[in-house]
């Protein structure tokens, strides 16, 4: 018989688990003071995330059109290659954003095997809106030890994380392989419509026919009381340059097992992380199996050429320690 968890037990468990989250004693005074002085005085750290959003959207080639140049791309040596136009996102238009939110809310009540693709036609062409296009059926596999994960990823020899931490040197391991799935060419269109300035198609897919079309592989490891490393294989091909903003810098670094690697020691957009790195995979990682429902699909092959790495460092660890670890010293 299943053990019942009461609401009280539920609250207790979640409170204990999040007990390190502490109230900001100056929050009320900070908001009152900032409002007295005018808007925008409160430190809004989420703006860092916006920078990341812009950078990622630029990198991914999502809908954007430019006005002001405040970003730049760097190559694998950390050298500036080109200026980048600051994007003004279609999603940032209040009308479009409002319509997207409404459509999103409506879809939130739909079964999980339904998804929407949305687009915005600004007169120059049809702009896909990733915000809703990512509503495809999500699935993932979770691995809690390296052995199972490596077995699952058999044939993939260029993963970084296990080479950083030889067996026994990491304390915990968690890997997730995420998929966005769609039906294999025969999903059903159940509605086409318009919500304000955006158009959309709503689909239903047969879950048993769902196949993954996009993968994200995340590996998270804890090392001592310090490092937690998260590695994401990036399903992107081509240009190795990345986008930086403002005073952010980049430098080439030597990393064990890597052909090219660049470190962003002061990247604001990493928000809660201490370091961000990006590397080109020496040999592209190709996942030849669907890794989903154990049903091979010939066309379900994905190549990864890039890996993004995020690191939290705790205690008195410094950058040199991290780089030594990465260099295999």
């Amino acid at each position: 018989m299943n053990k019942k968890i009461s609401a009280e037990e539920f609250r207790g468990a979640l409170d204990r688990h999040a007990s390190d989250l502490k109230a900001n004693l100056l929050l009320a005074q900070g908001i009152i003071a900032s409002e007295a002085e005018g808007e925008g005085k409160v430190k809004r750290t989420w703006r860092k995330s916006l920078v990341l959003a812009l950078a990622m959207i630029l990198t991914l080639g999502t809908v954007a059109y430019g006005v002001t140049s405040i970003y730049r791309t760097v190559n694998w040596k950390g050298e500036t290659e080109a200026d980048v136009q600051e994007p003004v996102l279609v999603e940032g238009d209040p009308q479009v954003a409002g319509a997207l939110v409404e459509l999103g809310r409506e879809m939130a009540d739909k079964p999980e095997n339904e998804f929407v693709t949305a687009w915005y036609d600004d007169g120059t062409g049809k702009n896909e809106l990733d915000v809703l296009n990512t509503e495809a059926y999500p699935a993932k596999k979770v691995f809690r030890n390296v052995e199972d994960f490596l077995d699952y990823m058999s044939g993939v020899e260029t993963l970084t994380a296990p080479s950083w931490f030889p067996e026994g040197e990491y304390e915990s391991f968690l890997a997730e392989v995420s998929f966005a799935c769609r039906a294999s060419g025969n999903y059903e269109l159940i509605e086409s419509g318009k919500a304000g300035p955006i158009c959309y198609n709503r689909f239903r897919l047969a879950e048993e026919d769902a196949v993954p079309y996009e993968y994200l592989v995340n590996i998270t490891m804890r090392h001592g009381n310090g490092y937690v490393i998260q590695s994401t294989l990036w399903p992107e091909e081509g240009e190795a340059a990345t986008v930086l903003s403002g005073e952010e810098t980049a430098q080439a670094v030597t990393v064990k097992g890597m052909e090219d690697a660049v470190l962003f020691p002061d990247r604001a957009s990493t928000a809660d992380m201490d370091l961000a790195m990006r590397r080109a995979l020496k040999n592209p990682v190709t996942l030849k199996r669907p890794y989903y429902r154990d049903a091979p699909q010939e066309d379900d092959v994905k190549e990864f050429t890039d890996e993004h790495i995020y690191i939290w460092k705790g205690g008195d660890k410094d950058l040199e320690d991290v780089l030594k670890l990465f260099a295999g010293e």
Binding site: I5, L21, N24, A28, V131, L174, R222
Partner: protein, 175 residues
């Protein structure tokens, strides 16, 4: 259950706001953390929640309890963050805090398993489960906070419980 009543002078207004922040900041912070699976985002969302609350203090008419009102703002803030394009691209289901330590006691492991499972729920189910079981709001209050029908909230709670039961293997939320 205490309720906000229309503030008079600026001093009264600020005193009221300080009381609300003092009373609700930690519950809001934790709600945001479990909604967004990210400590920094939760802190930002909490700040945004109270900023919105401060700006709307004069508009509160007591149509619902102050807790429902504040959680409604927090839920809206989390929803907006969660549905921003970039947020979906990041893996936010694993945080350093979630990784188990070897020395963790069984209770801590059980807590972590439950917390991790909650954070793996789809956002819409997680939101409903958190407001119901964690914030102690009833179905009507949640429906009001999320602009949903009573049946939609009940459906989300049911699906959320079912998903948690599968993940927790042997444990389930009491209805």
């Amino acid at each position: 259950m205490s309720n906000v009543t229309g503030p008079g002078t600026a001093q009264d207004r600020n005193r009221l706001f300080e009381r609300l922040v003092d009373q609700y900041q930690e519950p809001v912070l934790r709600l945001c953390y479990y909604c967004l699976c990210d400590k920094t985002q939760a802190e930002d969302a909490t700040q945004e929640t109270f900023l919105k609350l401060y700006r709307s203090l004069d508009n509160y008419r007591g149509g619902c309890s102050e807790k429902t009102w504040i959680m409604k703002i927090a839920a809206r803030v989390c929803y907006d963050i969660n549905h921003s394009g970039w947020f979906r691209l990041m893996n936010r289901h694993v945080t350093p805090e979630m990784l188990p330590c070897e020395a963790a006691a069984e209770e801590a492991r059980n807590d972590a398993e439950l917390a991790e499972s909650v954070m793996k729920l789809p956002f819409k189910l997680r939101e409903a489960i958190l407001l119901y079981y964690y914030q102690g709001m009833n179905v009507n209050e949640i429906a009001d906070a999320l602009n949903l029908s009573h049946s939609s909230v009940s459906g989300r709670l049911k699906r959320g419980r079912e998903k948690l039961k599968k993940m927790l293997e042997g444990r389930e939320l009491d209805e």
